[in-house]
């Protein structure tokens, strides 16, 4: 496969897509929202338990492509213990990264695996979908989030 592909489907992404972490309903979630990608029809539901502005637990359910599944899995694994302000800042940086390829310092860790997505404009929404759902869950937005 080409370099671009190996950038997109990095080992860590393939791993998380095959064996997603936190792939379950969170029974004691106090935030939750759906995300929907109109391009493909895929949906994800994100569950969060937030206490004192800190993420205590995160999980997700839904169906989607390898990119969106891995993104949800890595997101839920990366954000535990972060404050809401930190989450917002990570989201902003992640957004920049997947659309432009510029890895931002604070996106370190496994999130950086998604830097290759920007070369695949049609797949950017896949990588962002779970994040949109999370952000709308945290805002307790009453309507399902979409990636538009």
């Amino acid at each position: 496969m080409t370099d671009d592909v190996n950038d997109l489907y990095q080992e860590v992404i393939l791993d998380h897509s095959r064996t997603p972490r936190n792939f379950k309903k969170l029974e004691n979630a106090n935030h939750m929202a759906d995300g929907h990608n109109p391009l493909c029809g895929d949906r994800v539901t994100v569950f969060a338990r937030v206490e004192n502005d800190v993420i205590q637990e995160l999980s997700f359910q839904g169906s989607g492509c390898a990119i969106s599944k891995a993104s949800a899995s890595i997101m839920t694994a990366s954000l535990k213990g972060k404050t809401l302000a930190e989450v917002q800042s990570l989201f902003d940086q992640y957004h920049v990264m997947v659309t432009t390829g510029t890895p931002v310092d604070a996106t370190g860790g496994k999130l950086i695996a998604f830097a290759g997505v920007h070369k695949f404009p049609a797949r950017v929404k896949c990588a962002i979908l779970p994040w949109h759902a999370l952000m709308s869950a945290l805002k307790k937005s009453p309507t399902p989030a979409t990636t538009e």
Binding site: M1, V5, L14, C40, G41, G64, C65, A66
Partner: protein, 420 residues
Amino acid sequence: MVNPAFHCHGCHGEGLMREDFPILNQSIHGYPLVYLDNAATSQKPRAVLDATRNYYERNNANVHRGIHELSNRATAAYENGRERVASFFNARSSREIIFTRGTTEALNLVAHSWGRANLKAGDIILLTEMEHHSNLVPWQLVARETGAELRFIPVTGDEGLLDLSAIDSLLAAPVKLLGMTHISNSLGTINPVAELCQKARRQGVVTVVDGAQSAGHLPVDLQEIGCDFYAFSGHKICGPTGIGGLYARAEIMEQMAPYHGGGEMIQDVEFTHSTYKEPPHKFEAGTPNIAGVVGLHAAMDYLDCIGREKVFCHDQELALYAYELLTRLKGVRLFGPQKGRAGLVSFHLNEIHAHDMVTLADQKGVALRGGHHCNQPLMKKLGVDSTSRASFYFYNSFAEVDRLAEVIREIQKFFGCAAA
């Protein structure tokens, strides 16, 4: 059903006329392009590009209201295009042809001008479960506006045929309209439209055929099919984007309310009311896509020069070959009928999402489409989120189908699927 007279004599799976399509001769990500997304849009031969360029460089003007030479030429080119469309589909007269942007606009025109005036609460709009969103959503909108109700002819399952066992009771009153696709863009099924139109006509039910996938892919004789409306897109049959049309049987067109208001469609305008031209002009407000019609005309000439029987036979052979190769692979679920299919295959790979599949195929130069193919409700019924689709046209070859199968295997391997 497919005319058994379409017999293939010697398409040996070579791509036809490839030299007319410069776009096909390029590399994508370092591999030769294998364009298998023809059901979404076809490529355009030089003859079509030359015809529109020649129009702009010699004859361009606005139509109908002009009296000068260029305007006469433009009007003649436009109206000759209408004649050509009528002859292409064997309509009785060019007056039965309305130009639109494509299939979607044509179907919306029917819903707007015929549907809103003729449907009311309690009426039933009968569609099939395999309709493209373009032949579904306009009817949902008109149903909401008029109070009419939508019902559906079921699809049998993975082999994707219409289940016609209850058709007579489904077609009983108060059905007012039967809408159906001629060829399914996600299954490759060829529906028995002539038979269904005949049944419908006996009940006084108006019929709409979505011809997006049949026009230019097999010979279509509208008098034989006997439908009231037939919609098609130029961009799927070697023509330019932004042009297509609606056939409407003269008798039904005469009774239809206007669609858009504006220039070219009026007879006499006062400040507060107007009278309209005779059909089809009544339904074509504003400056039309004149160069688009010129290109469409050239595309129809081009296709008839190859021969639509030959195109159909060629595409079908490729699809049957692809179907066969893919059945031999593990972990592949195929949709649509095994026999009598149109020139496409739709499939689902175990454990691999269609969008991952298509992204990876593209990296090998193979252009496929993945998704719900504007058939979301059907996908839900089949229990899949999406499928991958390879759709063929006359310029595709057996070698390209081989490449498709090879690439699928490589992708299965990449994802470490048991199948590979």
